[in-house]
Symmetry: none
Subunit: 199 residues, 4 copies
DNA sequence: AATGAATGAGTGTTCATTCAT
DNA sequence: AATGAATGAACACTCATTCAT
């Protein structure tokens, strides 16, 4: 694998940024090479094909870029939380807060997940993470017994839906935080043990 | 609004059926007029344009058709339930059970909602229904206080995600029923009042 | 398999004709849909895709059309000949005479054979025919012993080369006939038995 | 004409070799600069344009290279033969034998001749050689009277066709030699005088 | 009511070539 | 001498829609 020159990295980044913008604004379905090229200020779609192996390659790069942004924003807050329940709360709340910081990235990611979701390792990775978290939490007594895969699906999708709706018309930061807390509370209650025996 | 002749209604229904099949099998993105025409046994796409004002019109008709099927299946079960909580449970469980009865319709609807969702009155209608149910339930003391719109979003999306995953590889009827109960339980707990004082 | 309307047959024929002309004039490599569309007086390449399943389909139709023309011209003369040697002569001579009657068809066919040859059933069909003719001729004592496949290859290719060269700059009819006789004579001699014992 | 530096000659040779490999493996039509660059281990097609005036220039260089290889292989055998007939035999046989020694070169050359043939001086040079050989042979009484150009065309094309077929799936050396002798015999008979009066 | 031919913009991708560095 | 970024035309093909019949 060869190293990338500065210029190439720059162009790739520029194209990825443009692609994310287009997806966020016009939707996945309208994110054609020509729209992306126009958004990036490129004179032809050939440039995109020159820098990316194909549409899948570009889209994958977009997902990767967005996830990096999200991780940088969310991970510190999740890691700062102690216990399975607090971490679940931190995940949901920081995910919702993302809308205030990077609304375009959030909108684009959700559209990408919806449309190229099932193939993507990254997307299934998130589900696996959720599931794993629920499973270990159950073992620790932090969560009641339930089908962890089903709950993971419902959580991830619910968060995405709420976030997508907000990203379409971002409310103020406080409102965002409030709704994030509400959503987190819902999932905490949905998964809480019948009798309090927290870890 | 003029009345429709029998043949026109027949043709429309035939095309809608074909479109739903195509969306269920090949996905929304591949549901072009030509594929639909082929599925319907029509020799040209002109027929479709003749009977529908445009692609949106056809897609709307598909959503309507599927919702009619869903309503016929779910409504009796929901109406049979007494109380806001029981009705929520009935909604979720009967929705999941749909997968066993009409997997193609379910798969198509979810794809339609994902892709043409925000514009569709029908889709937003479901959300409104959820929201209204939560609101009146809160007034009746069946649900705790929460933002009803956010909860509606999270519920609808969570159900869709679970259903979509199941529709892709439908499990047996019993497993379906069990997972439906689990999912319903989650939302019941998420919305339950802190102190039991059911209506 | 559905019947074709008159108009469709007409368009198909028109496109095939245009394609043959383009191949004859500009060569197989330059025979793009846009050139063919222009030659046919069509406003877009979409028309071609509308009438043909793909480029292969169009090219196959071209080969079929040309072979029909050739068969109509050559078959009577070959059938009129008696004996394996006379038929070989008739084949070669009538093939060469084709150049005078349908130079474009000949040029196009040779280019098609060169470029899409090995896949084509029609092309291999000709080789099989040659081989079979040599084999039965050998059994009848009309030809000496030799590897019939190799001879078939050499004959077919030799004829094509001579014909292609002539088609590029067609000589007069008499010159054509003379050269056809010469070429036929060469293959007759190449295949003749050592001792005269004609069937 | 300026002298070439060592590195430039080296690069040219490297590219020519890669081009021949690509043509032999993927065919003339797929032999794009990018494929050739990849085969040569170059990072960009710019290198090729830098060292060659254009695609024609590169292709011409390929033809030249292959012909040099062929000449080195065939010329000694042809020169060792005495008399026009023996030399014709030696030409055909050694050409067929090439398949066993340099199958890639043979395959590439034939593809090049087919596609860039008529423009190439090298290709026409071979025809001229054949024609000249026939003409002087006729004067010497080694060959009968026939149109030497037509015979040259038929011979060259026939040999190419046989060789191309063999190169696609090279048989063993003995089989090769046998078929080479058969083919040579065919042309010797096709050109032999009616009465034996060899030089 | 119905058809199938036609349209023309649009898709992603590849091409040989140019050019500043 | 060498590079890799850039170009823009070309490629086959699909799309939803229109329209005369």
């Amino acid at each position: 694998m060869r190293a990338r020159t500065f210029t190439e990295s720059g162009r790739r980044a520029q194209i990825v940024t443009a692609a994310i913008e287009v997806i966020a604004e016009d939707g996945y379905a309208r994110a054609s090479f020509s729209r992306i090229a126009k958004q990036a200020g490129l004179s032809s779609t050939g440039m995109i094909s020159y820098h990316f192996a194909g549409k899948d390659d570009l889209l994958t790069a977009c997902v990767g870029e967005i996830e990096q942004v999200m991780r940088a924003f969310m991970e510190p807050r999740i890691d700062a939380a102690v216990g399975h329940v607090a971490q679940l709360r931190a995940y949901v709340e920081s995910n919702v807060d993302m809308v205030g910081e990077h609304p375009a990235a959030v909108r684009a990611l959700i559209d990408l997940v919806k449309n190229a979701g099932s193939q993507s390792a990254a997307v299934n990775g998130r589900l696996d993470l959720f599931e794993e978290h629920f499973r270990t939490g159950q073992a620790a007594g932090a969560f009641r017994r339930f089908d962890s895969r089903t709950m993971a699906l419902a959580c991830a999708a619910g968060i995405d839906a709420v976030v997508a709706t907000m990203a379409a018309a971002p409310p103020g930061a406080e409102e965002l935080t409030r709704l994030g807390r509400e959503l987190a509370e819902a999932y905490v209650r949905a998964t809480a043990p019948d009798v309090e025996g927290e870890e």
